[in-house]
């Protein structure tokens, strides 16, 4: 499971809803411009559910894996 991660494909997704996150996290994501509907590209994933680097609006942000999951999960449910 480690080797395939060496050549990572960039992957994009849309942020659909931030409401499930706690207030502080929502606040900071909003500050960074990460809002509902924002198209985000994942450019780096670390093994073992480590941090994920995403890029949008000409900036790169490091976030945790579970946060990315909850941003994506919303999309599936709706």
């Amino acid at each position: 499971m480690w080797l395939p991660q060496l050549h990572q494909q960039s992957e994009t997704f849309h942020v659909n809803n931030l409401q499930t996150l706690d207030v502080k996290t929502q606040h900071r994501l909003k500050d960074l411009g990460l809002t509902r509907g924002k198209k985000v590209t994942i450019i780096r994933r670390y093994p073992l559910h480590g941090p994920v680097i995403i890029s949008f609006d000409h900036q790169k942000i490091g976030l945790r894996w579970d946060l990315i999951q909850s941003l994506k999960r919303e999309q599936v449910e709706q």
Binding site: L29, G50, P51, I61, G62
Partner: protein
Amino acid sequence: MTTIALFGNPNTGKTTLFNRLTDSYAYMGNWSGVTVEKKVGMIKNTNFAIVDLPGIYSLNPLTKDEAIATNFLLTEDQDIIVDVANASQLKRNLLLSIELLEFGKPTVIALNMIDSLRNMGISYNRQVLETAFDCKVMMTNARGNKGTQQLKQELLAEDPRLPATHFSLTYPSSVQQAIKQAVRGLTQNYNVSSQYAKWLAIQFMNANDAVVSFVKQHNLRPLLEQAPYYQAQHFDDKIYQTRLNYIETTLKEARETGSNPHTRDITAKIDRVVTHPLLGLPIFLGIFFLMFKLTFDWFGTPLSDLLDAFVSGPLSTTVNHWLIAAGALPFLRSLIVDGLITGVGGVLVFIPQIFTLFACISLLEDSGYMARAALVMDKLMSKVGLNGKAFIPLIIGFGCNVPGIMAARTIEQPKERLITTLISPYMSCSARLPIYSLFVAAFFAKNQALIVLSLYVLGIVVALVLAKIYQKVLHSENESVFMIELPEYHLPQPTIILRGTWDKGKGFIHKAGTVIFAGTVLIWLLSYFGPSGVVSNISNSFTALIGHSMVPLFAPIGLASWQAISAMLTGILAKETIGATLMVLYHTSGQTALVASLAHLFTPLAAYSFLVFILLYIPCFATIAVIKAETGSWKWALYTIISSLVIAYLVSFLIFQGGLLLGLH
């Protein structure tokens, strides 16, 4: 006096601009949260004061350093606001600009890092932006010192005629209506200007924590009574969305096609390697190993040895001759030659090593690697309930624990911040370096860098284990969030590296002239005199008496020398004093001689145990004071003193006794 306040998002180059405008040099770095305290400087030959504030994303503060910026706006006077925006991330940066413009003070927006924007092949029409935001817009590149002089001229020339801004955004009608009502209530009953009332109302609707507590404190009823309505109507979302739409429309209108993009995307190329999922961690460790190699093997130590040869040889002998020729009293001669030159001089010879280490740290800070290091370390840090950001204060702590602890202000969760503060003193600061150098030269000549690295690693391990324990005790789990911006890499600039190194290193020289000087004189006096007056044999002196009385206590960790114990006691003043004290007590004229005499007094195992104790025991006075200041209580400072002493004893005991069992000596 005219006060100019610098506001802006984190890492937009406010401090670089501050340094350019004031011709001074404040601490800079390339990650979010370099500035954690406001700094004031003057523009040369004027009565213009410039205030550099911590970076904020919005006026609603999440962390302690952000609160400093918001509170400055709320409670202190500023005549002009300079909003420093990162030109290539305007969409996000202008959100803050709008909040500042609504405040109504004369405002200048500096589009900084304009070079990066041009490299992307984009440019914005200045007139369009100036009209849209009703304020002066300047293009600057503070790092390359372009446009900064024009900005300075603008600030100097226009004042006091720099007009207040009349920027006003049209919010949805329900919000607009509520603002009007609130402004009426506030201006009629509370004696505030309508501009300020409007700003206060918008911020209150936007649920700005600092403003909400300000409103509660002043019992501004027109706002408090309406709070549930604002909340139910999601006014904060409406305000945010209106601002964002306005920014997007304006930017679209102002955008011009610039020159062809020539993005040699160096950042992406470097990141492909240093943030590699598998190689990231080894690279991080490699960089640190390189730092130690430079400091101890390749550069720092050889220079220190040369300096030591000079201080202990020619300097000491010459001064001694002069003093004899001048007929100085033996007492005075001994104080100067055996006390000051040996002690203070013995510490000053470590300048090359300490400055090399500081230069390496400055290089990491200026390049933008720190944020990557935090990212790479996040997984490991999350295991102990901290996040990767906590690693930056810890790395700075390798230089000095005091700024390290202050850097912890950027951590969002109060509990995580407290834990980071408590574990920071275990980071082996540069002041502990001289004593390591002495001992590794005496006992581990072949593996100097490796042994020192092992001490640094031990410090980190102890810190992480403690963090895990604190996590359990303080129940900080599940709260942790981690978000970090990865800035563009900068080609490190020699002037910035030099200034950074000097800023960190001058503290060391200052200490040599004050605390270490005093400590050396004290220890010399205590060893020159005994209960029976002047002693000819140092074993009868006060120092020996005190040291001897504690020998049984330290025997289990392998310490049999009273000199070493006395040295540890003075080390609480400042860790550098430990080496100075040993020099004085052994009456040796320099490093080489001391190394030779040490070899007879310790076994390698006892020496290592001693170093471990030095690494972990009570932090220096300055660190204790900053722990008190940052936690706001003596309780935590006292706790640090006691716990570190217990931990140091325990770990040294395990290493020494364990080593004996394994047959080491």
